[in-house]
Symmetry: C2
């Protein structure tokens, strides 16, 4: 009987050689990512990293989906504000509410998003975590992005979804580490990105536990607000995950410190990547334009000396959004 | 050819019918645990719970290992205090240091462990997280429990290790939710319990990120101290894990609220268990003796009406510690 081996190889070839990143154009960014995953997961490689240490962290806004014309959580918050305003007459006197109603985004985003957090306090505290989840869920089911005319949760970047799936298939844990609210992101992260709640780290506050007649609830407050941005990101990674990442994906100076934490003098092989918004036609083009929320100056400057890969969205990505 | 089936069944029988909890004596506690796991993991059961929802939370001190004559982290802290005292002459004036040197535990544990946290501030902040980890590691390698004359990390309860392994084999995530310090517990939790850092939730503070010449570090502080005890436990479960547990294991009133959060009006089937310290001969016997750190009054009273299983360590556990 003839060997079945050649036949089997033909059958398996499409699996073995399938491109795990089909929405990425060939180029140095794609190659660097493939090379890093290959060398850290091949047991014969000197750069092999045990599975338990394969932690990859991802910023969300601007890295896994757009952050323009404003971060999606801000769009949710503004919609909530308008929806509830008729029932909350006192809100009209608040300067940040006035800024919001006037569409004055710079004021809301100034002073490290101070206005946004005030609006989040008004619209996102005082209710139970379950009530909040329901509101977020309803918003995603009804609101649409003004430019792309799609529900916001159908704007994930297809190339990044492929990175998430590829890394997980290679034994990586893929965690979100974002300035967005953890409670907000956890409503969609599992469905949109395949990332379960315990792997979603974001800005957060302490809820309050109450045992009501109907059962236990957690009531959202603004207590102990922690802003998971800039140097807060490595702090949160330590507090929530307790180990140093070996791969980090970001797109703004808010990700600078977690890129540093991941890649500088890490005893493990490490990888840093910046998504550079260069595609005004299919998405947005910005580094530090006043209108954009994601400033990318310091991290872009540091990229060459740190060895961080800079993705040019216009040329590196064959596709932009999920189909 | 005769069927191989009978032969295969004989071979597999020890696997299929092996007792997953051999250190538990037969009885209602063991049976309740087996029944809960069976009904939530059998796809044909009406109480089946999808794997992603199988979250089990465990207190540590008094639940997975002893908390007498004092919580092990307090023993570490006192040893650190004595070790470093010659180099820190100012410490001698601190009333809590004086209480510690006088062996005055009630003062240290009063006012919700206020003295202990002062000692933790002295001995557990101002250094990098890596330096702290090294100190904890060294202590576990050198210190011994005064009564059992074993390294502290060789005093895990064998029956509880079996519960952890059994639940994980059945697709549960097993997380620690303890009043102990997260940084302290993460040094040994993976090695002793098989629980990775990101599944260890404890009392915690915010570290500070610094990019030094030698690379990035996180410096331990006492900023934003969060005490993961009592109603803090469900709050932390929400903040760190983002979903409601279906099984909860504790041993003191510090676990009351997370037992309530897990079991009262949970839309999923749920399970609560209290480890009751009744074995003065092999371990300790206490509910609310002044010398014990783990008070068990309210939770024990509530157990019958809440359906929480009370483990009688003396009769339910055939073995106490790991071999």
């Amino acid at each position: 009987m003839k060997s079945l081996l050649p036949f089997l190889l033909v059958l398996l070839a499409p699996l073995a050689f399938a491109d795990p990143l089909p929405s990425w154009n060939p180029g140095p960014a794609k190659q660097a990512l493939l090379d890093f995953v290959e060398k850290t997961t091949d047991p014969a490689s000197k750069d092999f990293v045990p599975e338990s240490e394969r932690l990859a962290v991802f910023d969300n806004d601007g890295t896994l989906w757009p952050e323009n014309p404003m971060p999606f959580q801000l769009a949710f918050t503004l919609d909530e504000l308008k929806r509830r305003l008729p029932d909350e007459p006192a809100w009209k006197d608040d300067p940040m509410v006035q800024a919001a109603l006037a569409g004055d985004l710079p004021t809301l985003l100034a002073d490290h998003y101070k206005g946004l957090f005030r609006l989040i306090e008004l619209t996102g505290s005082g209710m139970t975590t379950e009530e909040f989840d329901d509101r977020v869920r309803t918003w995603f089911a009804t609101a649409k992005h003004p430019r792309f005319d799609r529900p916001y949760d159908q704007l994930a970047y297809q190339p990044m979804l492929e990175v998430l799936a590829f890394l997980r298939a290679k034994g990586f844990q893929t965690c979100i580490v974002s300035g967005g609210g953890a409670d907000f992101m956890r409503v969609f992260a599992e469905r949109v990105y395949g990332i379960p709640p315990e792997q979603v780290i974001g800005s957060s506050t302490r809820a309050v536990f109450e045992l009501r007649d109907t059962g236990p609830v957690l009531v959202k407050t603004m207590k102990d607000l922690f802003i998971d941005d800039k140097s807060g990101k490595p702090v949160a990674i330590h507090q929530f995950l307790g180990r140093r990442p070996i791969a980090c994906f970001g797109n703004s100076d808010g990700d600078l410190q977690m890129l540093e934490y991941t890649t500088i003098n890490n005893p493990r092989p490490s990888f840093g990547l910046l998504v550079h918004h260069t595609d005004a036609e299919r998405e947005y083009a910005y580094d530090s334009t006043p209108k954009s929320s994601g400033k990318l100056i310091d991290a872009l400057n540091d990229a060459p000396k740190r060895g961080w890969i800079v993705v040019d969205m216009r040329t590196d990505w064959a596709k932009m959004f999920v189909p």
